[in-house]
């Protein structure tokens, strides 16, 4: 299947970054791109006030949730049109986190720009970092070593684990399942500590660079870390199976924020959100796993389905980590060769399987300095999906609809 990830406009014309069966390709805009890709107009206009159309009526008013709230801690604003309990339309204003990072990257060297990329949304730090590095490597014709590639994949799965645990923690807190939330939160903190043990940073920042890893992961502790991931998988499976027996929990998540597969495809969604609607996507192929992970789908497309997809992905990622961490000493090179770029300028692009979907980078480099960077995040289309999912919900179901998508304002606004 073809998914439009981003649009690049330049003096030479318009190009589309499309994910074609898991492989990113850059194609020229055809005659009717709106017919081919449902999210073309969204990405082209790129509104920062998403779904901004007023509703009027007797007793209808705009309930503003944000930009400073305790429920959604990030700076972002929801305008919920309602005549009482029901949300008629949700306008999401993401402009409160706009830091113009893509512009700030211009003129910097790739290494310095990569630090900025990690600061877009630090919970996706590694996905940004890997996508950026791959794009730069494509532009500068650099080939990272096998060691670098394999470790990157392992780190991507680590990032997936703690992000999915965070989503489940948030959902269970919102459903007032305090015991479950506490245990999942303990696993979440444990995952962050494992990240630190593995890479020296809780958010896997500062380990990846263009063409190589900045420093080698601590191989002495690898066996212990692998055991702890195995432990985490076991504990999580136990918690998850138990939570599925709680009808109150299931009832709150069921039918909250339902998306149909047609809507999901039209919005150009990827990742767990799309898979929860029943559509098998090829995003896993973008990762080039050593052994490919199974693609988990559910059918309903509601918050419960999205939670279930994530739960199974956590376990699969844990098993992948355990197996390949134990095998990682076979990748160990005595001397890590620095992969040298073959040219000082070029154009590159890459798409990575971030925990919430496809994350794409398009870079243009001249004289070893970034000339242009375009960042296409999964949270941007995710926010459009949130806006559609919120229509028709009552206010108490708001956290389920929002949290289950796993989107962040920092990631959407760049």
């Amino acid at each position: 299947m073809k998914v439009l990830t981003g649009i690049i406009t330049s003096l030479k014309g318009e190009q589309l970054l499309v994910l074609d069966n898991g492989k990113p390709v850059l194609i020229k805009t055809g005659d009717h791109p709106e017919k081919m890709f449902g999210n073309y107009s969204i990405l082209k206009q790129h509104p920062v006030r998403i779904n901004d159309e007023t509703i009027k009526g007797p007793g209808v008013f705009k309930f503003r949730y944000g930009p400073v709230t305790a429920g959604v801690r990030e700076a972002g604003c929801f305008y919920l049109y309602t005549y009482g309990e029901k949300i008629l339309r949700a306008t999401i204003d993401i402009s409160w986190k706009q830091r113009e990072i893509a512009k700030a990257m211009q003129g910097r060297s790739p290494e310095k720009a990569l630090a900025l990329a990690e600061g877009v949304s630090s919970n996706f730090a590694l996905s940004h970092s890997v996508a950026f590095s791959r794009a730069v490597e494509m532009a500068l014709q650099q080939t990272p070593s096998l060691l670098t590639k394999n470790w990157r994949i392992l780190f991507l799965e680590s990032e997936r684990i703690y992000n999915h645990l965070y989503v489940i923690y948030k959902l269970s807190s919102a459903a007032a399942q305090k015991v479950l939330a506490a245990h999942v939160s303990a696993l979440f903190e444990k995952a962050l500590r494992l990240n630190e043990k593995l890479t020296g940073s809780r958010y896997l920042m500062g380990i990846n660079s263009t063409g190589r890893l900045l420093h080698a992961p601590d191989v002495a502790a690898v066996e212990q870390i692998a055991n702890q991931y195995a432990d985490m998988a076991r504990q999580f499976t136990e918690l998850y199976k138990h939570s599925l027996k709680n009808f109150n929990y299931l009832d709150r998540l069921h039918s909250a924020g339902t998306l149909s597969p047609e809507q999901a495809i039209k919005l150009g969604l990827t990742g767990p959100t799309l898979r929860a609607c029943g559509v098998k996507d090829d995003l896993n192929d973008a990762t080039e796993h050593l052994i490919s992970l199974p693609v988990i789908t559910q059918k309903e497309g509601d918050a419960l389905a999205r939670m279930e997809v994530r739960a199974e992905e956590i376990v699969n990622s844990c098993h992948y980590l355990v197996n390949h961490l134990r095998a990682s000493d076979s990748w160990y090179d005595a001397k890590e060769k620095e992969n040298i770029p073959q040219q000082a300028e070029g154009t590159g692009y890459a798409v990575v399987n971030s925990p919430s979907g496809a994350l794409g980078y398009y870079v243009e480099i001249k004289e070893n300095k970034m000339q242009r960077v375009e960042i296409f995040t999964p949270s941007y289309v995710g926010m459009h999906a949130v806006s559609h999912a919120l229509e028709g919900l009552i206010f108490t179901d708001f956290p389920f609809a929002f949290e289950s998508f796993g989107v962040h304002f920092a990631d959407a606004a760049i």
């Binding site: 990072i101 900025l116 923690y169 939160s185 444990k190 958010y203």
Partner: protein, 158 residues
């Protein structure tokens, strides 16, 4: 066999017993009325989201901040400490001022600047009762150490 969850949780002994050390000291002498009762309101004015995750991690059982009497509030009107995450985006300067105006006396403000060299963000405006300024992404232990410096009691070690 049905598991009895209280025993299950307690047997894990998740809460750690250790000394939490703050990376910076307090810039002003502090009042004693926050001992064992500190209510924190967190506001994100332009962070890169890592700090948000660290605050969520701070609420995990390993740290168990409630045993120190530290709580996160839902409203700045109930807060003793305003924890400001990130340097402000231009649009967030107004809401930040509004939030500070809502805090009842006495209160402190703590800032955490996660990316000091990121362009596009503003410097902090004049903050009243600015108690501490952290940089980088401190771990939850460090943040907890700082909060405990304000909420420290005579009884517990940390």
């Amino acid at each position: 066999m049905t598991r009895w969850w209280p025993i299950y949780g307690l047997k894990k002994k998740l809460t750690e017993q250790k000394e939490y050390v703050s990376p910076v000291g307090l810039t002003k002498p502090k009042t004693r009325i926050f001992n064992r009762s500190l209510f924190v309101y967190v506001i994100d004015v332009g962070s890169s989201n890592a700090l948000n995750f660290e605050i969520s991690a701070l609420e995990s059982p390993q740290y168990n901040i409630h045993r120190f009497g530290i709580f996160m509030t839902d409203s700045p009107r109930h807060a003793d400490v305003l924890l400001i995450l990130g340097r402000p985006v231009t649009q967030m300067l107004g809401p930040l001022k509004e939030t500070i105006a809502q805090l009842p006396e006495p209160f402190y403000t703590i800032t955490i600047d996660d990316h000091p060299d990121q362009p596009g963000l503003n410097d902090y405006p004049e903050l009243p009762h600015h108690m501490a300024a952290l940089t980088g992404i401190p771990s939850p232990s460090e943040i907890l150490g700082l909060l405990l410096d304000i909420a420290k009691t005579k009884r517990m070690k940390s």
